[in-house]
């Protein structure tokens, strides 16, 4: 601890700038991760599926083409929430 304090006393102004920059970077990363956690449950989820097999099963009646309730066409602002790629 003492040697650390002695080292700090010998810092140059460029060292302070470096430490400041590192701290700022860590804060930005923390804010980014925190923000991501808040939004991850809304709008971001969708999955890629094997459409060929899905369509085959729809055509054969093994799956249903019943229209769901509780959906709407996405508005431009909502599209921003969608993650590209989707989860397999």
């Amino acid at each position: 601890m003492i040697s650390m304090l002695q080292a700090i006393r010998h810092w140059h102004s460029s060292d302070y700038r470096l430490v400041g920059l590192l701290s700022l970077t860590l804060v930005v990363i923390a804010l980014f991760l925190g923000g991501q956690q808040e939004t991850e449950m809304t709008g971001s989820s969708w999955r890629r599926i094997d459409m060929e097999i899905f369509q085959e099963r729809l055509d054969s009646g093994k799956l249903s083409a019943h229209e769901a309730e509780w959906f709407h066409a996405a508005k431009p602002a909502e599209l921003q929430l969608r993650k590209p790629g989707g989860t397999p």
């Binding site: 969708w46 093994k62 799956l63 309730e69 509780w70 959906f71």
Partner: protein
């Protein structure tokens, strides 16, 4: 691209054409969202009502239980992961049972109620809703076994046709929900309150996983919340964890942990606190909260003694026990 937004659960998935929601079974075809497992269950069984678990709702009666593929949660310890974590295009066994067929089948099998269960029935909402209407018309009851991760508006509508629900309150901690289930806590609490407000008979299950959600102070806070928001007569089931799916690194819940949790919840004011997944445990049975009389003795899912009066009261002190008994 004709993307759609699913409004059913709090994820509000934004789904591109040719994609599915996070649940895997609500699929966007040409800008229209399909409930692809409507009338296509992948599991059908006759269970005792106690297996749901519902201990204060038509005890001892057989319930026709169904599920389709898909789920909107992704619990690391899922007991039905082969079913819940598959889409309709992946699962092998699919039956054809539209609501009319389902109700007829349940009736033919001697069941007076249908349970929407195993995976989460939220993802086959339309199938549940339509079947429930027909079941009511046939004089049958509907029970909904769920994790409660659903938006309030669709849930309120569903509550009109549902008679009883057991909702899994997986922990009283949002961090647990995010890490272990991929969901969040607040919508589940909202769903529990909605069930109560809408007059659906409600029981709550809490699966205790060693080291993850067995902290007694958290259990006390959960029990206090249940007592305050849902009522002290709300049955709470502490269930034993068994290593499963992606959580095989933890041991089964020790019996002492379940005992302590049960005592903590009763000390917090809850009147009917049960222990599940341990056959023969004292906590399987129902006791009068006033004088301690054994009212319903259960061994596993079977009832070996039944002493409640016909109108659901303790035969010794006449204390009414909340539930749907007839």
């Amino acid at each position: 691209m004709r993307e759609v937004v699913c409004e059913l659960c709090p994820r509000k998935c934004v789904i591109p054409e040719g994609g599915a929601g996070d649940c895997r079974v609500r699929v966007n075809i040409g800008g229209k969202l399909l409930a692809s497992t409507y009338g296509r269950p992948s599991a059908m069984h006759i269970d005792p009502m106690e297996k749901k678990p519902l201990y204060h709702f038509h005890p001892g009666s057989p319930v026709f239980s169904i599920a389709t593929a898909g789920c909107n949660l992704h619990c690391l310890n899922c007991q039905n992961w082969q079913l819940s974590q598959s889409g309709g295009e992946e699962i092998e066994e699919i039956f054809n049972a539209d609501p009319v067929d389902l109700v007829a089948l349940a009736r033919d099998q001697g069941c007076e109620s249908i349970a929407y269960t195993y995976s989460d029935p939220v993802v086959f909402y339309e199938y549940v809703y339509d079947s429930s209407i027909l079941a009511h018309e046939a004089g049958m009851q509907n029970v909904f076994i769920t994790a409660g991760y659903i938006n309030t508006e669709p849930l309120r509508r569903l509550c009109k046709v549902i008679d009883a629900a057991n909702t899994d309150l997986k922990a009283f901690d949002d961090g647990f929900y995010r890490k272990t289930t991929g969901a969040t806590l607040q919508p589940v609490l909202d769903a529990l309150v909605t069930f109560r407000e809408e007059g659906v008979w409600l029981e709550v299950t809490n699966l205790l996983i060693p080291t993850l959600n067995d902290d007694l102070s958290m259990i006390r806070r959960m029990a206090k919340w249940i007592g305050r928001e849902l009522g002290e007569g709300t049955p709470l089931h502490f269930s034993r964890f068994h290593p499963m799916y992606r959580m095989r690194n933890l041991p089964p819940t020790p019996g002492e942990t379940l005992d302590r949790a049960r005592q903590e919840a009763m000390d917090a004011g809850l009147k009917y606190v049960y222990v599940g997944n341990i056959s023969g445990h004292k906590g399987n049975s129902t006791y009068c909260p006033v004088d301690g009389t054994l009212l319903i003795k259960r061994v596993g899912f079977m009832i070996s003694e039944y002493k409640l009066t016909s109108d659901g009261r303790c035969p010794t002190c006449n204390e009414p026990v909340p539930g749907v008994w007839q």
